[in-house]
């Protein structure tokens, strides 16, 4: 089948790739662009492991057909660190042991970033609702919530 040419900006870099039309953005990012930080958990939009931001909106890359993102701007977990320096969310996840196996972590980081972009000072309840679409099966949620709270404090300069 003919492959479609897609032009996007991924993590700040203009990125072009070829894809079959029915391919998910998740698979295109992993297999064509080489960004394997985007994880497949369920493949049906339930677990959030493949969360990415498309034009500043968080969504599950498994639910997006790759051709939909032609002309869009995408942020994956690989784009969070700035010139080798971890994003405060990443640093706080590390320091707070907010991950064990790590499969869910890229999705949590992106969802948490989407939340803090909109709401720099969320309550614990707001964090829990904002991360409700991300499932973690080993660490549990408390350390993740605390890491997000800590990162939010740092990012507010407190």
């Amino acid at each position: 089948m003919a492959r479609t040419h897609i032009t996007t900006v991924v993590n700040g870099d203009e990125t072009e790739f070829l894809t079959e039309d029915g391919t998910s953005l998740l698979n295109a990012l992993r297999d064509e662009v080489g960004l394997t930080g985007v994880k497949e958990g369920c493949g049906t939009g339930d677990c959030g492991a493949c969360s990415v931001m498309i034009d500043d909106k968080v969504t599950c890359a498994c639910l997006v057909f790759a051709p939909e993102v032609d002309g869009s701007t995408i942020l994956t977990v690989e784009g969070l660190a700035d010139s080798g320096e971890l994003h405060p969310l990443q640093q706080c996840f590390l320091e707070g042991a907010a991950l064990q196996c790590g499969i869910c972590t890229p999705g949590f980081l992106i969802s948490a970033k989407a939340l803090l972009d909109k709401n720099p000072d969320p309550t614990e309840t707001e964090i829990r609702y904002a991360l409700a679409g991300n499932l973690c099966r080993c660490t549990g949620y408390d350390k993740i919530i605390r890491a997000v709270q800590e990162a939010a404090r740092e990012m507010r300069g407190q």
């Binding site: 039309d21 029915g22 968080v58 969504t59 599950c60 498994c62 639910l63 051709p67 679409g133």
Partner: protein, 289 residues
């Protein structure tokens, strides 16, 4: 599967007329899981999000128009709409996670045909109409006429919903939607109840609409509850009639989310609570829009 993203309603209807196996989609939050579950793949995927009318929320003074493919996040973040239709806004906001909210739409939630679709009872009680485009132009249907059974709609294969029209909320009118799920978030309704109440100047109930989700093959109106409310106030006797009528209107299934008996009981409870919230909101809307 071939992907196409038409930029006009006409282009989309003509594509659908010439592609016997085409699937329209907005956020694909139901389409992708269904394909992954083994539903036969369509030849053509028609992305409706590039059509301007399908992704907009507008108010022309007499009515609101909500594009059928508009992400539900856009609707819940529209302060003016959400202030006027808090019940419908909250119902739309209950669909899935933030990730889903940025993709899910009223058109998709309706046309997927799930009996448990959260936005549908809230659209029905607000008298929402679906503007349906097809090869011969557009027709307008009440939202309640769109779904005919689980996964089934009255739309032809070459038709799709362009937008929903919702008349402005009259004075002294409020809406509400409640759903029962065993968790706090990220679940499918065991029962959903939408209510809309208009109060007379003397505080009695002038108009009432009640619709239930997840308790029958399609969303059901509860005319006996509506009759019990009109002309009365929400006293214990009236509310008990509402609850009984709601339980009676149910024709539910037993499944892992709830038994028949449980769904009937909960339908009565949610119906009462939704009516009370709608009344409270109606009391706060004394003026006009």
């Amino acid at each position: 599967m071939k992907y196409v993203a038409p930029s006009s309603v006409e282009e989309a209807t003509s594509l659908l007329s010439t592609s016997p196996s085409a699937q329209v989609f907005a956020g694909a939050t139901d389409v992708v899981p269904q394909l992954r579950a083994g539903r036969p793949a369509p030849e053509v995927l028609v992305d409706l999000k590039n059509i301007e009318e399908l992704v907009s929320v507008a108010n022309d003074g007499d009515k609101w128009t909500v594009g059928a493919a508009t992400p539900t996040a856009n609707l819940t973040e529209d302060q003016a709409f959400s202030d006027e239709f808090p019940g419908l806004s909250e119902a739309a906001g209950l669909i899935g996670s933030d990730q889903i909210q940025n993709r899910s739409s009223l058109g998709g939630n309706l046309c997927n045909g799930s009996p448990a679709a959260d936005s549908v009872p809230a659209m029905v009680v607000n008298g929402a109409r679906a503007v349906v485009a097809g090869p011969n132009g557009t027709r307008v249907l009440d939202v309640a006429e769109v779904v005919t059974g689980p996964g089934e709609t009255s739309l032809d294969a070459d038709e799709f919903i362009v937008e929903f029209e919702i008349d402005r909320m009259p004075a002294r009118t409020g809406d509400a939607y409640l759903r029962m799920i065993p968790r706090t978030e990220m679940d499918i309704a065991v029962v959903g109840a939408g209510a809309r109440i208009t109060l007379a100047e003397d505080g009695s109930i002038e108009q009432a609409a009640l619709a239930l989700g997840a308790v029958a093959p399609t969303v059901v109106r509860v005319p006996d509850a509506e009759t019990a409310l009109v002309g009365n106030t929400a006293d214990d006797e009236t509310l008990s009639a509402v609850a009984n009528a709601a339980s009676e209107a149910c024709n539910p299934i037993d499944d892992k989310r709830g038994t028949v008996a449980y769904r009937k009981q909960v339908a009565g409870v949610l119906a009462k609570r939704a009516v009370l919230i709608a009344i409270e909101r109606a009391e706060q809307r004394n003026g006009t829009n």
